[in-house]
C-alpha cells in the first residue's frame, strides 16, 4: 500500500494554508472556507466535492480501505485513508475524521447524510477542535436528535403532533400507555431518526413481544434506550418541507416533497411538489415548518417531516438536521444548489434572499437505484458492476458514484444512484422518468430499477394517489 501521494498532498496543504483570504464579491463579511473535508462516501461525497469546486474550496476525501478506488477519492483535491472497512472505525469514528481534518489542515467538515451527520457529539467535537461543522450547531442538533424533545418544541408553537406517550422505562409502563392511546401504535426510539428505530405494533401481544427487544436495540444503535409509543397513522402521506436558515435568523422554505413511496420507512421514490395537495393546506404545512424552524433557531439546511391523513390533518414527525438524499427534487424546482447554500450558511454568510424571491417551476421526481434485490426481500446485492448504459439528456439528472467494473461491497448503504427527472408538468416528469429508467442498464448485481419502473407506471402513481402503504401492494418481481 503505497502512499507517496499523501506526503505530497500534505506539503501542498501546507503551502495552501499560508494562502490568502478570498477577496471576491461572492462571499459576505465572513471568510469562506479554504479547505473542506468530506466526511462521507458515495454519491453525496461527490456531490459535496462538486459544490466545493463551484465555491472555490479545496476538498479532502476520507476513505476506508475498501473505498480506495472510489470516485470521491479520485476527484477530491486530496484523499486520506482513515480506517478499515468497518464504518465504526472509519466513517463513524469522530477521532479518525477529525484527525484527518487536523493533519490535512481542513477548516470545515461536511458530514453528508447518514454516518455522523446527526451526531450532536460529533458537532461538539468539531466545535472544540475549531473546525466548522457544515450543519446546525450542537444544541440545535441535540433538539432535533431527541424525538421527544422535538415533539415538545412542535407542540409549544402549535404544530400538531400525533398522540404519544412520554418516555417509557418498562414494558408494564408501555402496556398502560398503549391502553390509553389505542392501537395500532409505533414504538419509537427517542434517539432514532430517518426511519430507524421504529416498530409497528398492531396489538398488545406484539407490544409484549417486542418492547424489550426494541429497548435493547435502541440502546445499541443510538446509545439511548428511551422509547415512546406514538399513534400509527395509516393510510397517510409523508410530506416534508425543505428549510434553510442562516445565522441572522433568516429562514425560508423550498417547498415540500412527497415521499410516501416507502418500504419499512425507507424512501424509494420522491417527488415535488406533492401531487393533489390543496393549496391552502400546502401553505399551512409550509408555515408550520417555518414556525418549528424558528422555534429551534434552526441554522443550516434541514427537513421538517409530517404525516398527512386522508382528512387533511397533518402531524409533525421529526426534523432531519442535514442534507437529505432526496434534496435534488427541490433543486430542480428552484434552480438553486442546496449544497452550496448549505456551505455558504455554515461559513457565516447571509441567505441573501427572502421567501418572495424564490420561484418554483415545474415538477420533479427522484428514483433511488439501490443495490438490492426486491425479489429477495430487498437483500443487499453485491458483485462487480458492468455498466451498459446510463441515462441523460434534457431534464434528466443522475447523481452517482458508480463506474464500470466497480465492486459493490456489503459494507455500506446500498444506494448506487439517484435518478431525477424534471418536467414542466408532472406528466412530463413521469414520462421522462420512464424513459430514463429504461436507459439505466447495469449488470452484475440486482437493483431496484425494475421496481421503480413498476411504480412509475402504476395507476396510483400516475394519478398521484398513493399513501405510505402503497409500495407493499406492488409486486416485487
Amino acid at each position: 500500500m503505497a502512499s507517496p501521494g499523501f506526503q505530497s498532498l500534505v506539503l501542498a496543504q501546507r503551502s495552501a494554508a499560508c494562502g490568502q483570504r478570498r477577496a471576491d464579491g461572492l462571499v459576505g463579511q465572513d471568510e469562506m472556507f479554504r479547505k473542506l473535508l468530506v466526511a462521507n462516501r458515495g454519491e453525496i461525497a461527490l456531490r459535496v466535492i462538486e459544490s466545493c469546486r463551484e465555491l472555490g474550496i479545496r476538498t479532502v476525501a476520507v476513505y476506508s480501505e475498501v473505498d480506495r478506488g472510489s470516485l470521491p477519492v479520485q476527484h477530491a483535491d486530496e484523499a486520506i485513508c482513515i480506517g478499515p472497512a468497518d464504518a465504526r472505525r472509519s466513517y463513524l469514528s469522530p477521532v479518525a475524521i477529525l484527525s484527518a481534518a487536523t493533519v490535512t489542515g481542513a477548516d470545515a467538515v461536511h458530514p453528508g447524510y447518514g454516518f455522523l451527520a446527526e451526531s450532536a457529539e460529533f458537532v461538539e467535537a468539531c466545535e472544540e477542535t475549531g473546525i466548522t461543522f457544515v450543519g446546525p450547531p450542537a444544541e440545535v442538533m441535540a433538539k432535533a436528535g431527541d424525538k421527544l424533545l422535538a415533539r415538545r418544541e412542535a407542540e409549544a408553537v402549535g404544530v400538531p403532533v400525533l398522540p404519544a406517550s412520554g418516555p417509557l422505562r418498562t414494558r408494564e409502563e408501555a402496556e398502560r400507555a398503549a391502553e390509553e392511546l389505542g392501537y395500532p401504535l409505533m414504538i419509537k426510539a427517542a434517539g432514532g431518526g430517518g426511519g430507524r428505530g421504529i416498530r409497528i405494533i398492531p396489538d398488545g401481544e406484539r407490544l409484549r413481544r417486542e418492547f424489550d427487544l426494541a429497548k435493547q436495540e435502541a440502546d445499541a444503535a443510538f446509545a439511548d434506550p428511551r422509547l415512546y409509543l406514538e399513534r400509527h397513522l395509516v393510510p397517510a402521506r409523508h410530506i416534508e418541507v425543505q428549510i434553510l436558515g442562516d445565522a441572522f435568523g433568516n429562514i425560508v422554505q423550498w417547498g415540500e416533497r412527497d415521499c410516501s413511496v416507502q418500504r419499512r420507512h425507507q424512501k424509494l421514490v420522491e417527488e415535488a411538489p406533492a401531487p393533489n395537495l390543496d393549496e391552502e393546506l400546502r401553505e399551512r404545512i409550509h408555515e408550520a415548518a417555518i414556525r418549528f424552524a424558528r422555534r429551534v433557531n434552526y441554522r443550516g439546511v434541514g427537513t421538517v417531516e409530517f404525516l398527512l391523513d386522508v382528512e387533511g390533518h397533518f402531524y409533525f414527525i421529526e426534523l432531519n438536521a442535514r442534507i437529505q438524499v432526496e434534496h435534488p427534487v427541490s433543486e430542480a424546482l428552484t434552480g438553486r444548489n442546496l449544497v452550496t447554500e448549505q456551505i455558504r450558511i455554515a461559513a457565516g454568510e447571509r441567505l441573501g434572499y427572502s421567501q418572495a424571491d424564490l420561484a418554483f417551476s415545474g415538477h420533479a421526481i427522484e428514483c433511488r437505484l439501490n443495490a438490492e434485490d426486491p425479489g429477495e426481500g430487498f437483500a443487499p446485492s453485491i458483485g462487480r458492476l458492468a455498466i451498459r448504459s446510463l441515462p441523460g439528456g434534457h431534464g434528466v439528472r443522475l447523481d452517482t458514484h458508480i463506474y464500470h467494473g466497480m465492486e459493490v461491497t456489503p459494507w455500506y448503504d446500498p444506494l448506487l444512484a439517484k435518478l431525477i427527472t424534471w418536467g414542466r408538468t408532472r406528466d412530463e416528469a413521469r414520462a421522462r422518468m420512464a424513459g430514463a429508467l429504461a436507459r439505466f442498464e447495469v449488470e452484475g448485481i440486482k437493483t431496484t430499477r425494475n421496481l421503480c419502473q413498476e411504480i412509475i407506471a402504476s395507476l396510483p402513481f400516475a394519478r398521484g394517489e398513493y399513501t405510505t402503504d402503497f409500495l407493499a401492494t406492488i409486486g416485487t418481481g
Binding site: 500534505v10 493533519v103 490535512t104 477542535t129
Partner: protein, 147 residues
C-alpha cells in the same frame, strides 16, 4: 564403490538441496553437479551461502511491514527531547513499542508485529500519516543454522 552405491548416492543428491557433490573413495572420484540457476562459483551450495545471500537481499517473507494503526501524526519518541523508541539496527521483540501516532490528543502506540531488527524507518518525525501507511520495515531474525 559399486554401481548400487553410486545409485544410492545419486538419490541422496537428488533429494538434497546441494548443487554439487564430490565423493572420493579408494582412488575413485564421483562428482554430482546440477545447474543451480546462478553463476555462483561455490563448490558446495551449503546452507551458509544461502544464508549469506538472504542477508544481502532479504526476501519479502523475511521482512515485517509495520503499518500505521490510525490517521494522525507520527512520532518516533514518547516526548519532545526524549530518546527515540527505536532506531534502525535495533533488535525488537513482538509487542515492543516502536513509535506512536498522535491524533486528537489520543496517542496510539505502534507495536512490533514480530521479533526482528529495525531495518528502515520510512516516515519522518511529526509527519502526518494515514491509516495503513507503511511506517517501518523489520528484518526477521535469521533462523538458526540447520545442522
Amino acid at each position: 564403490m559399486d554401481l548400487k552405491e553410486i545409485e544410492g548416492l545419486l538419490r541422496l543428491f537428488e533429494d538434497s538441496s546441494l548443487t554439487e557433490l564430490v565423493v572420493e573413495e579408494g582412488g575413485m572420484r564421483v562428482t554430482f553437479r546440477r545447474d543451480a540457476g546462478s553463476p555462483r562459483e561455490s563448490p558446495l551450495a551449503s546452507a551458509d551461502s544461502a544464508l549469506a545471500l538472504r542477508e544481502v537481499v532479504p526476501r519479502a517473507s523475511d521482512r515485517l511491514v509495520v503499518r500505521s494503526p490510525c490517521v494522525g501524526t507520527f512520532s518516533s519518541r514518547p516526548a519532545v527531547g526524549s530518546d527515540a523508541f527505536v532506531r534502525a539496527g535495533d533488535a525488537v521483540k513482538e509487542g515492543d513499542t516502536l513509535a506512536v501516532v498522535e491524533a486528537m490528543k489520543i496517542i496510539t502506540e505502534v507495536k512490533a508485529p514480530g521479533d526482528g531488527v529495525v531495518e528502515k524507518i520510512l516516515v519522518q518525525d511529526r509527519q502526518p500519516v494515514e491509516f495503513g501507511q507503511e511506517l517501518m520495515i523489520i528484518a526477521r531474525e535469521p533462523p538458526s543454522e540447520p545442522a
